[in-house]
Symmetry: C2
Subunit: 238 residues, 2 copies
């Protein structure tokens, strides 16, 4: 089952035109035929189904048959993370976090950040690819690259956590029972948050957490944090 | 803090000689000096500490000061997984699973497997790299590439699960309360397990499980399964 993405798609859209690249994919890779069903989302909850009315490798059209609207997750999982030195590792985080159900991502610039610039367009493409691959209908929101101190002093959430490796009195994230509400977690760069950053987070009511006993890479910490919240919510709902 | 790995290290080893590559790393990257402490593991629980007695880029020696033995995890987390078509994705699984605490990995050959050969030596190197990076002392056991049917009919564990995408009556892995005992989970290839494989697993008392509601890639499913068990055990122990 293949899912396509068109950002400006509406429930009322009667006909869709696919790009040259998508048209080629539909005819050559998926080997679809005229009359076959195709599913498209706008990443804002819409599942739009149509039948292919015209099919060639450059110009493929589909006509609406049905639409379904999928509700958003009840609460947010927001990870604010320092992009890793290796761009691959950050992209891997984006893909996996989308697959497992993150709702918001903010790349943050920290004192010890080794990467001080990102390619947002490329990041957005990875999110869309992972959304399609995992057959979901809500694209995570990718916020702009933001300075750590601006971010922590302006953002609010029901649960605010900072995952740092410095010595302090920390509980495991998995021990919190409030995670069915909105959650925001800060994940630092390879060199960890600075002591000034940890203090600023604390002044802004972020609680320090541990993510188990191992030393995790930045991108692994991001996934582990996100998945811990998902599991707690699954347990809460059963 | 850097951890080195020497497979044949014993508690009784009095002096260690580092390879040319390690010697270069110790002097050029870590910028260690004679008299500095260095930590080495054999991946079987030993934490061996010594001081550097000789240091050059080709030949570095350390003399034992203390040793600690770290106990194994009380129970196993064993993932048997079909190696992905893209080797990078499989290697990513190996790295992340080691970081978060897997104990056993078996690559399995399934009916729908697109990859029918693996490089065990390369896989082993990735496990060692991740062990060192995450500062752990027990190297996961990497078993030989095994045929699905041979594997499921011969292996035993307290909890045996199969994560497949076919329609069936499945509970989420996170709903099981028995995961503090040994756990074995089968993860299929990109094209899923065949119906014959699902049936054979069922005949051998594997329970079908879901890993949430999204469609996950093979390597993501492996990590999600492994991390779900870790979280359940963390909760069990607090």
């Amino acid at each position: 089952m293949e899912l396509f993405f068109q950002e400006n798609l509406l429930e009322s859209t009667l006909e869709i035109k696919f790009s040259t690249e998508e048209s080629r994919h539909i005819s050559k890779v998926l080997r679809k035929k005229t009359g076959d069903t195709i599913t498209v989302t706008n990443g804002k909850g819409l599942e739009w189904k149509g039948v292919i009315t015209r099919l060639d490798t450059r110009n493929t059209l589909a006509k609406k048959t049905t639409t379904i609207f999928h509700k958003k997750a009840k609460s947010n999982i927001h990870i604010a993370i320092a992009p890793t030195k290796s761009n691959d590792r950050m992209e891997w985080f984006l893909e996996k976090a989308t697959e497992i159900g993150i709702t918001h991502i903010t790349p943050i610039l920290c004192n010890h950040s080794e990467r001080r610039n990102i390619k947002s367009d490329r990041f957005e493409k990875i999110l869309i690819g992972a959304l399609k691959q995992s057959y979901q209908f809500h694209l995570p929101k990718l916020n702009a690259f933001t300075n750590f101190s601006d971010f922590v002093s302006s953002i609010s959430a029901d649960n605010k956590f900072i995952a740092h490796c410095r010595e302090s009195n920390k509980s495991n994230l998995s021990s919190y029972n409030s995670l069915s509400k909105d959650v925001l977690i800060l994940i630092g760069p390879e060199g960890d948050f600075s002591s000034e950053e940890v203090e600023l987070a604390s002044e802004n009511d972020f609680l320090p957490i541990a993510l188990g006993s191992q030393r995790l890479r930045t991108e692994t910490a991001g996934i582990v944090a996100c998945h811990t919240v998902i599991i707690k919510r699954e347990q809460h709902n059963t």
